[in-house]
Symmetry: C2
Subunit: 130 residues, 2 copies
């Protein structure tokens, strides 16, 4: 059954992306031009250097972002860039998340109707047939 499969899809939610700090980072990167300065991310998310570094290391290790040291005018700065794999993985993550949040709802709307009918008959609803 489709809705049942969708419920189980929570296992498909990438753990590396799902962690809430990293989700915020990935969301900003994926929503924008795909690259931001380390300092800009740190400021926007009000994270400490250490915390952001740890999150980025986890994302980099999974091939989702890459770090680039930029030199040029002014001080050198580290830029964080989403990789192609990172963009695909984030799109996949959003798709799974959407399934869990919306199809789980659809899955239970039949039960709601069934339960209402059962209450009207004065008994508990039967478990759904397999």
């Amino acid at each position: 059954m489709k809705a049942r499969a969708a419920s189980r899809d929570y296992r498909g939610l990438d753990r590396v992306i799902h962690e809430r700090g990293r989700l915020a980072i990935m969301s900003m990167l994926a929503g924008g031009i795909g690259r931001m300065a380390f300092t800009e991310i740190r400021e926007r998310l009000a994270m400490t250097d250490g915390n952001l570094s740890r999150h980025l290391a986890a994302l980099e290790e999974s091939g989702l972002v890459k770090m680039e040291r930029r030199t040029g005018r002014g001080r050198p700065q580290t830029e964080v860039a989403l990789t192609g794999e990172g963009r695909r993985a984030f799109a996949g993550y959003l798709e799974r998340l959407e399934q869990i949040l919306s199809q789980a709802k659809a899955a239970t709307s039949e039960e709601r109707a069934g339960a209402a009918a059962a209450r009207a008959r004065g008994r508990e609803p039967e478990p759904e047939p397999a």
Copy 2:
């Protein structure tokens, strides 16, 4: 700035709900009549007894669900019911999540325009003014 505040909102994502197994459980409960048999949840999510018990204990400890032992016709069974607090917390969670996913996008669309303009001028974009 609104978008900046929204990005920081990742801290407002309830950790207890955000864990992906518990997110799947809460999503099913909140989408339905608010209560399900333990065995039904276990089957739908293909979780082990132990795993589901641990997740439910965490949700119960936070006051998000309550467990009810039902006796009557047939074998006694444990039902899991969403509390009023659980329903409110889940609604709040979804709202924050939506903000992180969508407003972070909005936050960076200005930058995208700025970056395109900067590229047209042949240099890197300036950091956004505070």
